[in-house]
C-alpha cells in the first residue's frame, strides 16, 4: 500500500473503530461490512432492533460511540446464526453482537434494565460460582426477576410445564438446597478474575 493510501485508511479508521477492533470479540471484522443489509433482513427479531447489525457497523465506522454502546440493539441477538450463514463477506455477526454487548457491559454503559443483560448476568454469576449451572436456582431467580408477585404469577403460568419436567426427571427441586458444582471451582474463579483484570486493563486505555 502506498503512503497516501495508508494515510487515508488511517484517517477513516476513527478512534471508535480502533477501540472496537482492540476490545470487542471479532471486532476487526467490522470494517469488512459492505452494507448489503442481508443480516438485518434475515434476523428473526429484526423488526425489534433499534439499530440492526449493518446499521450498527456503520455507526461504529461513523464513530458514534455512545449511541452504539448504550444501545439495546445488540442485546436482541438470540444467536440463531442466520446472519452469519447469509453474510456474503462471512462476517461473524452473531459473535460481534455479543462482543459489543459484553464490551458495553464491561464499560458500564449497557442499559441497566435490559432483560437479556439481566439474565446474562444471572447466568454468569450462577455458572462462575460453581463451575456448573444450577438450573433450579437459575430458573427461579429468572421468574422472580421482576419482584415477588410477578414471580409467583409466572411460576403459576409455568406450573404444568414444570410438573411435566419433574415427571420426566428434567427438573430437580433439590437443586435449590444442594448443588455439587465442579472440581477445582476455586481455580476457575482465579482464572476468571485474572481474565477480567486483563480485559479491564485493555479497556482502560480507551478511557472506559
Amino acid at each position: 500500500m502506498s503512503d497516501l493510501n495508508a494515510q487515508m485508511v488511517e484517517k477513516y479508521r476513527n478512534s471508535f473503530l480502533k477501540e472496537v477492533e482492540a476490545n470487542v470479540e471479532e471486532g476487526e471484522w467490522v470494517k469488512m461490512c459492505m452494507q448489503c443489509g442481508v443480516c438485518s433482513g434475515s434476523c428473526p427479531l429484526g423488526p425489534y432492533w433499534e439499530h440492526p447489525p449493518q446499521e450498527i457497523f456503520m455507526m461504529i465506522r461513523a464513530g458514534k460511540r455512545e449511541e452504539v454502546l448504550k444501545s439495546e440493539s445488540m442485546w436482541m441477538c438470540t444467536s440463531c446464526y442466520n446472519c452469519i450463514v447469509r453474510c456474503p463477506r462471512g462476517l461473524p455477526i452473531t459473535h460481534i453482537m455479543h462482543g459489543l454487548a459484553h464490551y458495553a457491559e464491561r464499560l458500564g454503559l449497557a442499559p441497566k434494565q435490559n432483560p437479556t443483560r439481566r439474565f446474562a448476568l444471572m447466568f454468569w454469576d450462577n455458572i462462575a460460582k460453581h463451575g456448573r449451572v444450577n438450573e433450579t436456582v437459575l430458573s427461579i431467580k429468572l421468574y422472580f426477576m421482576d419482584g415477588f408477585s410477578a414471580g409467583i404469577k409466572r411460576a403459576l403460568e409455568m406450573l404444568p410445564v414444570g410438573l411435566g419436567m419433574l415427571k420426566a426427571k428434567r427438573f430437580n427441586p433439590w437443586g435449590l438446597f444442594f448443588h455439587k458444582g465442579c472440581k477445582g471451582k476455586r481455580d476457575i474463579q482465579k482464572i476468571l478474575a485474572k481474565a477480567r483484570e486483563i480485559e479491564l486493563a485493555k479497556a482502560a486505555k480507551f478511557g472506559g
Binding site: 452494507q35 448489503c36 442481508v38 438485518s40 433482513g41 429484526g46 440492526p52 450463514v85 447469509r86 456474503p88
Partner: protein
Amino acid sequence: MSEPVATNQTILVVGGGISGMTAALEAAECGKQVILVEKNPSVGGRITQLYKYFPKMCFPACGLEINLRRLKANRNIRLLTMAEVTRLEGEPGDYTATIRIRPRYVNENCTACGACAEAVEAEFDDEFHFGLKKRKGAYLPFIMAYPQRYVLDPRIIGTEDAERAKAACKYDAIDLDMQEQTVELKVGAVVWATGWKPYDAARIQPYGYDRFRNVITSVELERIMDPNGPTGGRLVRPSDGKEAKNIAFIQCAGSRDRNHLKHCSRICCMASLKQATYLREKFGDEGRATIYYIDIRAIDRIEDFYARVKADPNVSFIKSKVASITEDEKTGDVILHGVDTEGYHRYSNRHDLCVLAIGMEPSVPAGEFPIELVVDDNGFIQSDPANGAIFAAGCAEDALDVNRAVQSGTAAALKAIQVVNRVAGTEG
C-alpha cells in the same frame, strides 16, 4: 467429415462460443490453420440464447449471422462439433490433443427439412431453453444452428423412435451406426475458450429457486423474451402464464458472496438494466421493474445506459441484498423480504415474478482441465508463462460481457499466431 490434418503450425481453439469463434476467425483470416472444437451440436454458445445485447439493444442473431458467414467462407478452419478435448500434452509449438467426437447420427446429407423430428415421438427437456420447454428426440438445436443439421438424442438410439426417424428421412441422412470417435491432433498453440455457465440458483437457498415457480434466472428471462422461445416471446410467468408486469430483479445472485462465487460476475448489473427495459417494451407504462442491488456496477463506458434506465420512472432501485423470498400460494406472487439500507426501511414487497441476476462461473471447474493450468481463486485461467502456449479467451479468462469477450478472443488469437509463427521460423 474427413479427418482434419493438423501440424504443429495449427492452432486449436477449444469452444465455439463468441470468443472461440472470434479467435478462430481472426487466426484463420490471418492465414493460419485452425481447428475449432465445440462440445455442442452447434457453434454460437451462450450469445445464441440471448434476446438482446446491451447497450445497443440489438439482436445477437445479427452478429452471429456475420460470424457464421465468415466461418462458412473460410477454408482455414476445420470445425468439429459434439467434440471435446479429453487430453492435451506437450509444450509450446508441439502439443498433442486427444479429441473425443460424439456421434450425431446425422450425416452431411441432412437438409434440415425436419421430417425426422415430426416422426419421432419421444420428448426431452430442451437444453437451449433451459428446460422451459420440450423438444423432440430428433432436433435442430435452435433456429440459427450451424451446422444447419439435425441431431438425434442418444437416448432414442435403439428405440423404435430411431427407426421412425430413419424411415422418415428422404435423404438417407440418418446413420444409426455412427460411433464415438477419438482423434489425435498435433497443434502448435491452443486457445482455450470454454466460456461460462450460470451459477446453480437452487444453491441460494433463501431465494427458493427450486421451490417457487415464479423465481427464475436472468438467462431464463432471455429465453422467455425470445419469439421462438417457450412462451412465443410473451413476457409471462411460469406458474400460471399471467403477464409479468411487475418484476423484481435481484443483483449479485450468487456473485460477490463467500458462500457462492467470490467474484463480481460483471455482466449482471447491465443484464438487469437491459431486462428492465423489456418491461417497457412489452407493457409500456404498465410495466414496473424493481432492482434490488448492493451497488450498481455498470462498467465504464456503459454508465450512460444506467443513467437512461434510471431516468425511467417505472424502474425503481432499492439498495438492499434481499434476505429471503416467500411465495403467496394463492396467487403465486413472490414476496421479497429485506432491509433497504438507504434509510434502513424494512420491506416485504410483492411482485409477479422475481428474476435472479445469476452469476457466471467458468464452465470447466478448476482441476478438470485436460492439462494443468494456472487459474485464480475463482477458476478463471490466468495469463501465466506456466500455461505455455495455452491462451484463455472470453469467459474462461474472466467474467466478461460479449464486447470484452470478443476483444479477449482477438488477443488470444494474436498470442497463438505468434507461437505458430515462431514454429514456422517466420518470427524470432
